[in-house]
Symmetry: C2
């Protein structure tokens, strides 16, 4: 049961020859969820062998070019390849206004439907769910309306202990109820707690938060408490107050502070300013506060709980 | 005196991990001229170390996404880097209508001027000239209005033979006139031909033609007669008449026929369909007709006359 994140782009605004602009892809049991879609994301999908046909959901954090200008080309390729499945794009309502005319022009006669789901970046809300997962918006603080996204697997049905089925002569109805988490009440009124009857399905539900461009915002932490995989932007290595407040970005230390407060299991930092030739400095600074930090580069993959 | 072509993208519609969509850059004496600007062209500029600041002119052959969707991101990066020089974009008038709103949205508060120069793809016309070069449009035959571009260096002033200055006691005015190509008439009426008085400036004027997406069109040949470097699309390896007439593309053999008819010095073929894993077949087919053919890949450089 896959839950694997691939980094397709890890640079800030202007790409370099080594780092593409922002794009992550989360594979949840062979369904791909793209988060941000910077220019060239379709090239990176090919390079890292992620199948176009498995990608039906794209989440855009905000309308800066380095986070969404890969959409028209990606959709044009979908169209050329004869895609038929619906595509769902979650974004600020202006994305549709500004990019759909381009998408339509360059994908003349779309062979599939695009559904735009308006996201209010000021709200912390569940914006998507399916059988196995839900996605929440996380309001951020950037120069334009911006939100992060929090992907959480739903708890799976528990496994019932075989010996308990026998011991209490459980009916089908009782088994269904216990698997869903109920306790068992015997005829004599004794209550057998659920945890004595079941074991957790493994792997335990996993989670991933994508904290896109933002000023340091400690109020994020409680919204993503205990997250397995926290990506947090760390544009700057230094805590240069002037630069941070002018650009509405975070430093490596600030990303680590959020990870520590959120009790994340692992921190991934990225969106490095093109002024740095390496992200080693960012990683070093962040690790002083949050040791389990990785400065990501394009092509890295992460599978929490494995 | 540089005249060097760099291939930034050599694939057709859908990029692969090895080949970006269409983009060429011609360096003429350290001025860069971009021809087509597929998605990711700014990444390729970085990769192949071509300076953003030297690029002031972009020529777009037609409005298919794989030939122009790199523009909004490139302009956004120019803007972030604080560019001040004017940018000139030569294209079908619809480019401005469809892409400028996106460019404006993602490059809020442009730090430089963009001049759109309308090109009528049905006309064979000189659309640009400066001191050293001119650019002509070459009408093509594709599914949407399309033209190629022909870049020609202007002839340089001739070198006067020093011994002739002495022999005929040439005045400054006579020298200027002879350098521009005139013959010399002596007082007794004798005419001394220019070629006896001068030598050609080397290198001789060089030329490059970019024949973008098109059906086989032999009438191109006389317009680019004697071209040093002819790029001609060769989407398909085979002469599959159904496919060629449906897609309005050319085969490797057809590209070679045009090169032969135009008496080109060298043929470059590209824009290979993603259905081929290699372009060796295209090259082999084309070389049977036009031996000096190269199937290009991203990053290749060509300098005619060197």
């Amino acid at each position: 049961m896959k839950f694997e994140l691939t980094i397709l782009g890890s640079n800030s605004a202007t790409p370099t020859s080594q780092r593409f602009p922002s794009c992550h892809v989360l594979n949840v049991r062979e369904k791909l969820f793209m988060v941000d879609c910077g220019e060239g994301s379709q090239i990176q999908l090919r390079k890292f062998k992620l199948k176009f046909s498995r990608l039906n959901h794209i989440f855009i954090s905000h309308l800066h070019g380095d986070h969404c200008l890969g959409l028209p080309g990606l959709v044009a390729s979908f169209n050329l390849l004869g895609r038929t499945s619906d595509l769902h794009i979650f974004a600020h309502p202006e994305l549709k206004t500004i990019l759909h005319p381009v998408i339509e022009y360059f994908s003349h006669g779309l062979t599939f439907a695009i559904h735009y789901h308006d996201v209010d970046p000021k709200k912390h809300a569940r914006i998507f769910e399916d059988k196995s997962m839900e996605v929440w918006s996380i309001p951020l603080n950037h120069r334009v309306p911006t939100c992060g996204y929090f992907f959480k697997e739903k708890p799976r049905e528990k496994n019932i202990r075989k010996e308990m089925v026998e011991k209490y002569q459980l009916s089908i109805a009782e088994i269904v109820s216990i698997k869903a988490g109920s306790d068992l009440t015997l005829k004599d009124g004794t209550v057998i707690e659920n945890k004595a009857l079941t074991t957790e399905s493994l792997p335990l539900p996993r989670s991933y938060a994508y904290i896109s461009d933002t000023k340091f915002k400690p109020s994020i932490a409680p919204l993503i408490k205990g997250v397995d995989l926290l990506y947090h932007e760390a544009t700057f290595m230094e805590d240069d107050e002037v630069r941070l407040s002018k650009t509405f970005h975070s430093s490596a230390r600030q990303a680590a502070e959020v990870a520590r407060m959120a009790e994340a299991k692992q921190l991934l930092i990225g969106h490095f300013s093109a002024r740095y030739t390496s992200a080693e400095g960012h990683e070093k600074v962040a690790r002083e506060i949050f040791p389990n930090t990785v400065a990501v580069s394009d092509g890295m993959r992460f599978s929490p709980g494995e």
